[in-house]
Amino acid sequence: MLILRTLRRGPLHGYGIAQHIQQLSQDVLQVEEGSLYPALQRMELQGWITSEWRETARNRRARVYRLTPAGRKQLAREVSGFKRVLGAIARVMGSA
């Protein structure tokens, strides 16, 4: 979900995605960066994202991932599910 959310802002390469998540979560979410790639590949298999080679600003080739319409739908589903769970947790916590 985080990856999909990140890609909603625009195409990005693997390193960029890792950077982005790290920065946004203010280093709270410290994932093993390697696990990003299997996740990306799985999503590509599901058809949520596509990828292509692009030149980066510093003239290097990087694999850039892009969200597909199917990916957007999936993100919407996951976000709504997440919000429901979050809301539920918040209510439980709030009432305590």
Binding site: G34, G47, A62
Partner: protein, 786 residues
Amino acid sequence: MQFLQRLRFLTRRAEYERALDESIRFHLEMRTQENIGSGMTPEEARWAALRQFGNVTLLKEGMREMFQFLWLGTLLQDTRYAFRMLRRSPAFTIVAVLSLALGIGVNTAIFSIMDVLLLKLLPVKNPQELVGVRETLSFPAYKKLRDRNQVFSGVAAFSPIPISVTLTGSAEATHANGQMVTGNYYSVLGVDPIFGRLITSEDDKIPAVGGPQGPVAVISYAYWNRRFDLNPSVIGKSITVNDLSVTIVGVTPARFSGVLGGVQAPPDVSLPYMLQPQVAPNGYAALWLNGGRGSELEYDESDGYGFRPIVARLKPGVTTAQATAELNVLYQQILAERHGNSPNERERLENMQLRLELRPAGKGVRAWVDEKPSMLLLVAVMAAPGLVLLIACANVANLLLARATARQREVAVRLALGAGRYRLIRQFLTESTLLALLGGALGVALASWSRNLMLAIISYSSRRPVHVEAETDIRVLAFTAVVALTAGIIFGLAPAFRVTRTGFVTALRYDAGKQSGGHSFWEPGKILVVTQVALSLPLLIGAGLLTRSIRNVENFDPGFNREHLLLFSTQFLGVNLVRSGQLLKEIQERMSGLPGARSAGLSHVPPLIIPRSRVSVNGLSRQVNAQNFASRLLIGSGFFDTMGIPLLAGRDLGIHDDENAPKVCVVSKNFADHFFPNSNPIGQHFSFMRPGAVYPVEVVGVVKDVKGWWAQPGQAATFSQSAYCPLMQGLPYDEVTLTVRVAGNPALVAGEVRRRFQDIDKKPSFGGQNLGRPDRRLDVCADITL
């Protein structure tokens, strides 16, 4: 979608892996750069990046697995590996593949022929319902049978006839295979046209005209392709068939090639029976249609021996046995009606013995073998090539085994490194299967070549060209694939098990390569050698016997001089019966005094294979059995001279023995001994019991016995009781064979004979398979019609 992606991954695996590698490298470099930027040394930065990333190898493994159907992946891997191994030892590969290709090729070729001859059903509706009447029924009897029976949903008849065809606007006539059919022929068979329409009962109503559309014809797809280039405008076109103009109304499907099946030439042009008077004024079709000279059925093979024109479709649920029973009741009625009110006691008794027999015709009317024997025949014929294949397998297995022993160390190392035994066996099997498939692929190519060779040899050594519509179709390919795969597993399994069985500790020992523990009697190598010898032995014996029988055939003494004989058979096409005598005289005149020929003689059919006639002496018709039959050959003057058959008593036949002279004949020694024991045969009288007629003759001479075949194939040649009658006294008929004793160059003589035949008639009223084939020497006595 996912599946496709996975497939893409499998095929472009290297590309994917490279992409992944590059992505990871890029990631790590960026991270390292950043770490350096935040004040680390390059060394520290790199390690930190790696730490943060996690286990790269594990990651890659995981990602790969995400894509794979494991078995397919390993299969591909094994195949690639196997290819590599085979490439590394090309000598081994070539030997193995070639010997397998030979084995598989021969099997495929013979199977494809046997498939057509014995297994394949006719491409018609419910072919298993079709039955053929084994005996020859006359046309009137056929009609009664067709209209009165309760067991068939339809009874059709057909007669193959040779024809000459002239296309409109063309002066050139060509020979073709014709067929006369009853109007219900196609509907009984359940064949639909691919183009136009087929012959119906309407087209077969009025003698000499046909039906409302006049004379019509249906052509086969092959003929359409050959003569008309598949041009659709063929419908409605007129062609001239033996002087009769007919309109083409339709084309039969490509798969349908008549109902004869087996080795007969498929019909090119089919015509309704009612056109017989113009199209086939003589021949079997004429005899049949005109009531077989007035008989319902005679046990006489001279009128179209082996000619079985009737094919019927059983009503659903009716068995062949039920149909046969009812058919014979009906048949006895028909026979009784024939004799009307004068039932001769003897004839009545003879009729009682006459029975009709039905044969399954789903594989073709002339599939001359019954269901069970045909399977036996198949097994028998396939046994020899099967043995060859087994030997080839044993060969390859032996080679593999030798190689496997050499690879023992490699295998041991792999086992030691943790490879599973079954994984290794699978790998070995992949290798042997690959070998087998390569052999199979080459074998298929070899098969069509060797099949053509075999058919050419059979055509050459038998009297007629053999038509087998054999092709490498899906059935044959399936057969080959099964054979190849089975072979691969058979010869791959033993070496695979053997090599992987060894404990790796022993195998890894330094001297392991030298010995392979060959103390046991049940050593696979030894077993293989024993098997090979055991398999080769029967083949050798078989080949030896075959060679001997061929030698026997070559040394076979037919009772006449076989050296330097040339044989020309020809048929009169579209020639009216009335003309045949005149034509014969012309031929006889023309062919005398051939340069390079010592002598020449005519006979109505080729000598050696002579139709039989029933013989009655002194008006006494003896019992119907083989003893009272004689081969009846019609000959011209000079025949005995040419054949080298010595005259023992009396006189030879001459030109003066024509249609106006008293009916005479010359008989063989054994004929005389059988019918006229203890008396002088010269001057004796006897009669040929022709269907519906009796031909009395007087014996004027006796000649030496000559061997020959009865009209039935498959029987051994015996000295046949023969009677030779003058050509001019046996008219009419529609074929003639010229036998020439050559003194000079046979090819020159043959050329001259052909020229003279053409001089006699510019139109191809002469057709015949042997005409113009000077290579047909009589001394090939394997000349048995199939």
